[in-house]
Each structure stands twice: as C-alpha cells, then as structure tokens.
Symmetry: C2
C-alpha cells in the first residue's frame, strides 16, 4: 500500500495470469496457448516486414485490419472494434457499457478477469451459479441487470451454450450482453451473425488462441455501430493507437490463410477428443469441452496434488483455488507428444 495510490487502486485485487516460467522448459498446458505456430503467412509478414515503417504511428483507426475482419466475418467495418488483446477490448467494454449501471450478471465460475474489471471500474455484480453440471442456465439471467457478460464456451469449464440459448438471453434484456468468444473456434457456435439482429449484443473474439498469436496481443469486438462507436470513444480517450503495425500485419496475414487455420483447429479438436477418452479411461471425469482445454477431476486424487505432481514431472496445468472447482485441473490441449506425456505422467500416479 502507498499513500500515493488512489482509493480504488488500494482496493484492487488484480488478475493473476497462469504461470509463465522463464527459467525451465516445461510442457506448458496451463495458459490455453495453441501448440502450433502461426500460419506461414504470418512468418512471411513479420520476417519480411519493411521495418523502416515502424518510425510511423499506426493508423489509429486500424482500417486495414478492420477491413480484413469485415471481409472475413461478413460484417461492416463500422461494426468492428480492435484492441490490444481481447482483455483490453473487455476492459473497455466494462467502461463503455457497465460502469455506473445496476448490477451486472456473470457466471460464478467463468473468466476470473470479470470481477477484476468490476473492481477497476467499481461495477457491482451478481454472480449467477452454474447448475449442478457446471453449465449455464440462461433462465437464471432473467432478472433486472445493468449488463451481462458470459464466456462461450465458458472458461474454465469449456462447456458451450447453444445459439438458441443466447438468443433467449438476448430476448430477456435491454442491457448490453457481451459474449466472450475467446475459445469459440474450437467447436462452439459463434453468435456473431446475431449482431445484425440485436443492437445490444457485443461479441468479443481474439487472435490469441485459434490463430496462435497470443504473443502479439490482438482482440476485437463485433457489434452494432452504436456499441462500436462507444468503444471507440473510450479507446480514443485512453490510447489512440492500441494496435501496432506488426500486430496488424500479422493478423491480416493470418486471416488470409484459412486452410491453415482450419487444419490447426481440427487437429486440436481431434487431440481434445483423444485426450478426453484417455483421461476417462484413467478414471477422470471430464466436462464436455468445446474449447482448446479440458476441465477435469479425479475422485481419488485432489487437484492440488495432481497439479503439484505434474509440475514435478515438468508439466504445467492450471489449478484454481476457487470454491466448487477447487478439485478440478484445467489442461490446455497440446501436441500429440505433449498430450501423451501428460497421460504417461498421470499413469505414473496410479
């Protein structure tokens, strides 16, 4: 604590990302990174980049990237907002749509950054309990609210909502509904097409997971032009140029290589299915995942022990000390070799 910090900063309880060890080589299955490199088109864009252009500011409106996203999604440029990772896009969304409103709603078990944004902007919230199967029941959200935010698929459960359920949610409320689709490409159904129907729907996506660009920090939001204009007002009052020139070039190159994108995500889905079976064979309960991670527990092994033993074996997974899920571990889908190493390490525990 410091007398120089404002009251809000004194009270913050910042987000803690998964470990990023700098020293030892781990099999890193803890932060939902893609096990495959970005498209060769990205390599070409970066390694062939005319570096002298970096002396110039980027386009503050990121028009080229937004045009590429417009072409890819079938939406208009004016329906697209881009930022420095989807975390920044989400932060700006809390400021733009939620601050100063009634309580917002989100699942009690979800992306743990949401309550942190609430503390940053002093947004009140009610956490809505997942059902006994760790799924979201949208009828629980049929109550007065200042906004709703849900990750779909949900993190860290990996469980997805149907489009019909999201539509039901949107019919209930006039508040802004943010659907955080960080993991949507791994088998869930995006609701991006619904932004033309519902002026209060904001869909947030990222290049970090399915496009293997976590290291470059690129996220975006899709929504009605009014929502996007609001986000731009906040962005332009915070940082005029959040997306840098190399990030923009890499993202455009990635969007241009759809074959590679499809191959990678298909491969990850295949590995997820295989890993789910292998874990089930070892007596694990695995929640039905449509993401690039699985959430699993074992009746005989506490999650804290599994986490510690795997770390000793050189494999990092994520363990949350959170009520209801303290006995689960979250495992990001790795390469076949990494998934096999995980299974072998777990067999060693038996």
């Amino acid at each position: 604590m410091s007398k120089y910090w404002t009251d809000i900063v004194q009270q913050l309880n910042p987000y803690v990302p998964g470990e990023q060890p700098q020293d030892q080589q781990y099999i890193k299955l803890n932060t939902n990174e893609n096990p495959y490199p970005p498209s060769p088109a990205v390599t070409k864009a970066i390694n062939g980049y005319a570096v002298e252009n970096l002396r110039r500011y980027p386009d503050p409106e990121s028009r080229q990237l937004r045009q590429a996203l417009a072409a890819y999604t079938g939406l208009e440029c004016e329906q697209i907002f881009v930022g420095n990772g989807s975390d920044e896009v989400l932060a700006h969304s809390f400021k733009t749509f939620f601050q100063g409103r009634d309580d917002i709603l989100f699942p009690d078990i979800g992306y743990s950054f949401y309550p942190v944004y609430c503390s940053l902007y002093r947004v009140n919230y009610r956490a809505i309990a997942l059902d006994s199967n760790f799924a979201i029941d949208v009828s629980d959200y049929r109550q007065a609210n200042g906004g709703i935010i849900i990750a779909n698929p949900n993190a860290p459960t990996g469980i997805t909502l149907t489009l019909a359920a999201i539509r039901e949610l949107l019919e209930y409320t006039d508040s802004v509904v943010v659907i955080d689709e960080a993991y949507v490409d791994f088998g869930a159904e995006s609701c991006q097409a619904l932004v033309n129907e519902y002026p209060n729907l904001l869909v947030v996506q990222t290049f970090s997971k399915s496009r293997s660009l976590a290291g470059l920090r690129l996220g975006y939001a899709l929504g009605h032009v009014e929502l996007i204009e609001g986000l731009n007002r906040v962005k332009n009052s915070f940082n005029s140029y959040p997306v840098d020139r190399l990030g923009s070039a890499a993202a455009i190159a990635s969007l241009g290589d759809d074959d590679y994108f499809q191959q990678c995500k298909d491969k990850i889905i295949e590995s997820r299915n295989w890993l789910t079976e292998a874990l089930t064979d070892l007596g694990f309960e695995v929640l039905p995942s449509k993401s690039n991670f699985i959430f699993t527990r074992h009746s005989s092994y506490p999650a804290s022990q599994l986490y510690a033993e795997l770390k000793k074996a050189g494999i990092l997974v994520r363990h949350f000390e959170t009520s209801r899920i303290e006995n689960f571990i979250r495992i990001s889908i790795g390469t076949d070799d990494e998934c096999s190493a995980l299974i072998e390490a777990l067999k060693g525990l038996h």
Copy 2:
C-alpha cells in the same frame, strides 16, 4: 449518442491525433515521428524473429525489457513500468495517482491528451497559464493540488524546464508529479535521476520519437517502487500483457545500439537548428525548442492559411485551434530534404 453508453462515455471528448492519411504521399511533418528508420539492430530483431514463439503469451512482467531499461538508466527493474505506448502509461498514471483526488494541475497549453484522461476518469483539474513567452513558471504550481503533470519539453511549444525548476516543483508538493519526457532526448535534461530522491516523481518516456518506434507502441515510466507497484496493480486489473513479444524484442535491440541512437538525435538537433534559422530568415517567430518539432508563427500569415497552403503543397504540419496558440503551426523535424521542401514551399507564399 446511444442509450447503451454509460454517462461518462456520453460526456467524453476524445483525443484527436494528427492526421494519418492513408491515401496520398505527403511530406509528413505533423505527428512528430522520427524521419529516420529504427536501428539496423531492430530490423535484425524483427526480420530474424522466430515467429513460432508468437503462439505463446509474452512475459506479463516484461522482465527482459525492464532489465534492459534498468541497465540503460541505472535504475532497478522494480523502478520501471512498461506499457503499450506512453499514452497507455499516462492513462494508467491518471487512474493510479489522480482519480478521486483534489484538482490536478497542468499547463493550459500542453499535451492535449491530459484533459481527455481527466474526462475519462472524472479527475478535476486547473489549467495553469503559460507565461507571456509560452514558458512554464513553476512558482505558479505552488498551490494545493491532487497531482501535477507536465510535459518536458512541453508540447506543442518545445520549450524545456531546467532540472532546478523541476526540483523546485517537487519541493512544493507531496502529490505525485508526472514529468512526461516524450521529447526529452532531443536536447532537454531528463529528471530520471531524481526518482531516487523524490518518492512522488514519476518520469514517463517513450520509444516512439527518439527511437523511431512509434509504429510499435512502447512507453515506460520510471519512479519509486511504490509508484511502479501502483501502476502494476492497475495494469494487472486491465490487461495482463500490454507489451507484445515483437515490441519487447525491438525495444531491447534499440537500447543495445546506442551509437545509432545518438547519431539520429544529433542529426535531428542539427536539422532543428538549421530549420529554425531558415524560418527566422523568412520572418517567422520560432519558440526555443529542445524537441523534435518547432512551434512557430508569422505576423503576416494566419496559421490556418499556412496549414492549408502547405497541405496543398503536399506537406502536412499540425495546427491546433486552441486559444492563445491558434496562430502557431507545429512542424516536426524531417530529413534535410523534407525541411528544405518546407522552406521552399513557404518561400512560395512570399
């Protein structure tokens, strides 16, 4: 306006950056970009980067970059905060130190983003008038305040404060004093050494100008560990990884090539001196600049006319429609050819 925007967002008056035309080739002397490319070491770092690593998140603590800055500045890592351009660092500083306090103080003519941050975070401020020579008189800041922020050299005047004057300012107040040194490398004296003496001093610098990396968005703050910890609390409640892998690699490479850095800034200082003389010969009044731009007016030509005529001639400069300075234009220092073209275009007006 939209019913979905929060009250604050309705009332925002966002910052407007200098024009970044995408269509026509201009001689661009309007956004204080460096006329020279980044160091060849940066080119090597980017064009030789192992792009497969981009699938991984960056180090959320940016340790390698902070270590490089520590070595360069002689400070400790824990005294250094890095962000997505100095605009983001400044925004977080307003949140961390100023929000909810008494009025903060800054010059009536200065970086026009400061009042925008105030509207974003609802910080009240008193703008302190520059003196009749457009200089800052630090004795004017000897009044109750919740914080002080000053650009040194000041923008858009280019006029610098002495270290003695900044020390005087720091002796007056217990609030946090932010010295925004975006342009300090072009001949002004940095107060970074004072952070070990004054626990309330935060110095903000950037790779955008003197290091030709505007396109990559890299800024940083130097200060007491308590101030840096406060900034980290805010950053970690907003976006865990604001500095991407390529930005970090480029910044480290730039810091490693000090010869190139010194040559570029010396060349810009030389061009500034030449341009100042040439403009004076044409009857312009030029404020004494220690930055990579000059602020100038002519008694016979309104600035709006100069701006428009130069734009017609393919040369972009910046004109602010702000009281007291509405008759000045700000000219970024270009290459010799660009500066000569500017002088020729101005001669054409005579």
